[in-house]
């Protein structure tokens, strides 16, 4: 029974990270950009929640969504000129943006944590037999599942989704065929903003304190998951995000209490082993022979 409990908790955390990972994967897909500043969407959203503590949920949720999607679109503008730059240059640019936003947050709210709360009812738990399940666990799994399905339908059933996959597949050719790359990239950023909003709202019950580094930590873990899963396609990237969240929770539960401080070492060790065994990604098919 204890392990079932661990498993459920792990699936919930995995769902959250898969949302962030999907956002990172979408942006990487359409512009080969690893957005280190993805976490700052969550951070800025977190401060928005802090600033509006006590307001009606019906105002706060749309407001947070608006702020996060707006920031995502601003980022898109900032990265637009670098679309054909070297990967390292783009990466450092996103780091600069991340650093900039964290510096602004630190200046405005200091490094000290600020408490945010929304949907506080979600933190409550009910028991089934020996299982103690918090509502947020169920909601995380449900929202995660619905959004992943929704994005999947969007990509496969809509015009812009199809064009997005074409751009992800070969941007230059897609552009030459008249696909409006700008519109596709803007849509991807907006979508990743929506995903970040959902992830933030579900993270709040577990991490009710926002600091300037709040988002960076989440984004780095999700990013590692994305690379471990396989960046080239969305599904492996998302599964990778899920796996790292799942492993994070599982390893934490399984480690003896005194050893839990070494959680990071165990996780990172696993990451290294997976990368050595499957450098192309855990869930990625064997690479096709390179066509010259």
């Amino acid at each position: 029974m204890r392990y079932v409990q661990y498993f459920i908790d792990a699936v919930a955390l995995g769902s959250l990270y898969s949302l962030v990972a999907l956002g990172i994967g979408l942006i990487f897909g359409v512009m080969r950009l690893i957005n280190l500043a993805q976490g700052e969407l969550l951070m800025v959203g977190g401060y928005t929640l802090f600033a509006t503590n006590g307001w009606s949920v019906f105002v706060r949720v749309p407001l947070v969504l608006l702020v996060i999607v707006g920031l995502a679109l601003l980022m898109e503008r900032a990265f637009r000129r670098l679309r054909s730059a070297a990967p390292a240059t783009m990466l450092v640019m996103t780091f600069a943006v991340s650093f900039l936003l964290r510096s602004i947050a630190q200046k405005r709210w200091s490094a000290q944590g600020k408490s945010m709360n929304i949907f506080s009812g979600l933190s409550h738990a009910f028991t089934v037999g020996q299982l103690r399940i918090r509502y947020v666990t169920l909601v995380s799994i449900a929202v995660g599942g619905v959004l992943l399905l929704g994005v999947n339908l969007f990509l496969n059933r809509t015009d812009i989704g199809l064009q997005m996959r074409a751009v992800a597949s070969d941007r230059r050719i897609a552009q030459a065929l008249g696909v409006r790359t700008n519109r596709v990239v803007v849509t991807a950023f907006a979508l990743s903003g929506v995903l970040a909003t959902a992830a933030l709202l579900l993270f709040v019950p577990q991490r009710p304190t926002v600091t300037p580094d709040f988002g960076l930590q989440i984004a780095i873990v999700a990013l590692i998951g994305v690379v471990v899963g396989g960046m080239d396609r969305l599904a492996p990237a998302t599964f990778g995000g899920f796996s790292i969240g799942f492993a994070n929770s599982m390893v934490f539960s399984l480690l003896p209490t005194g050893q839990r401080v070494f959680l990071d070492s165990v996780l990172y060790g696993l990451v290294i082993i997976v990368l050595l065994l499957r450098p192309q990604g855990l869930f990625q098919r064997e690479r096709q022979t390179t066509r010259v």
Binding site: V227, S265, L275
Partner: protein
């Protein structure tokens, strides 16, 4: 040229600000270390600050007196707790440990390419930090190492930087360095002429690890105290940002990026406290230095995506475009 620069600085800035510039020299030395491996091989490493950390903590712990260590870090293994080394010895020890650690890590990881390599080396950084922070038999835990002798002055910092640049230059011009640069330009062609990528990368990784360990020791002798958070994420990204802003593919780029950004960084953070520049007093608002620095880096990247150096390299007859390897 660096000496001239140092001389020039002393005329423009007051004594107190000058002192802060050794920080810039030490950070630039770190950028040069990362360049030796990442610049020459084309494989980015997020793990080099681990080697800096190892060097810094080894030098810091061994330069503390035994009885002092007993009081602050009672959990340490006896051989760490009971021994004490002089300054020079801590530098050598740090270089040796950094090199050894890099060798071990490199044996496993230099086979990886691209993003996988980046994330795997990042994982090494995470493990290093996690272990040093929590395994109090080898590391300082959540505390800072206090009271390390501050023997790194402006001269020593500059000497350390010059030493790193010279080593990097010699390596780059050596047969091994040229072989590695060939693999960066075209891995398949390089293998075609018999170059073993794994071996060449491992040599560079180990050398740069030793250099990073050494710089870590120099760093701790300048800071006087060090905690695990000081040699972790922010330093990693800052060093990489300097490398990329300067220009990843040349030693001149690494040096230029390191010096320019860390000088600006120093000026800005001094500026928050109030800065006399040409006898004018400037004061920047608190915490604004990070904002200005990040914005500056972003502007450089947007206007010169290939970095400040744009491929130029140190040369005997001034700077020349690097057209061949």
């Amino acid at each position: 040229m660096l000496v001239l620069l140092a001389g020039g600085l002393s005329t423009v800035f007051s004594q107190s600000v000058q002192l802060k510039f050794h920080n810039a020299f030490v950070i630039t030395a770190m950028v040069v270390c990362v360049y030796v491996s990442s610049g020459n091989s084309g494989v980015i490493s997020f793990g080099h600050v681990s080697f800096v950390a190892i060097g810094a903590f080894a030098a810091g712990l061994f330069s503390m007196k035994a009885q002092q260590k007993g009081a602050v870090f009672n959990d340490l293994f006896p051989f760490i707790k009971d021994n004490h080394l002089g300054n020079l010895a801590t530098l050598i020890l740090a270089a040796a440990l950094g090199g050894l650690y890099a060798l071990v890590v490199g044996i496993a990881l230099v086979r990886l390419n691209g993003l996988s390599a980046g994330i795997a080396t990042f994982a090494v950084l995470g493990i290093t930090r996690n272990v040093l922070r929590n395994w109090t038999k080898v590391g300082p835990g959540a505390k800072s190492i206090p009271g390390v002798e501050e023997t790194t002055g402006l001269t020593q910092a500059l000497m350390a930087l010059i030493l790193c640049i010279v080593v990097a230059y010699i390596y780059q011009r050596s047969a091994a360095g040229r072989r590695l640069r060939a693999t960066r330009e075209d891995a398949i062609a390089a293998q075609g002429v018999g170059i073993r990528i794994y071996r060449e990368r491992l040599i560079a990784f180990t050398l740069s690890g030793a250099m990073a360990g050494f710089v870590g020791a120099v760093y701790v002798h300048f800071l006087g105290s060090v905690s695990t958070d000081q040699v972790y994420l922010d330093l990693t990204f800052l060093v990489l940002a300097m490398l990329v802003v300067g220009g990843v593919d040349s030693l001149w780029g690494a040096t230029l990026g390191g010096l320019s950004i860390s000088f600006i960084n120093t000026l800005l953070s001094e500026g928050e406290k109030g800065l006399s520049l040409f006898r004018q007093k400037f004061t920047l608002p608190t915490s604004s230095s990070g904002i200005i620095l990040a914005a500056l880096m972003a502007i450089v990247l947007l206007t010169r995506p290939k970095g400040l150096a744009n491929g130029r390299e140190f040369g005997l007859r001034g700077f020349r475009r690097r057209d061949s390897i």
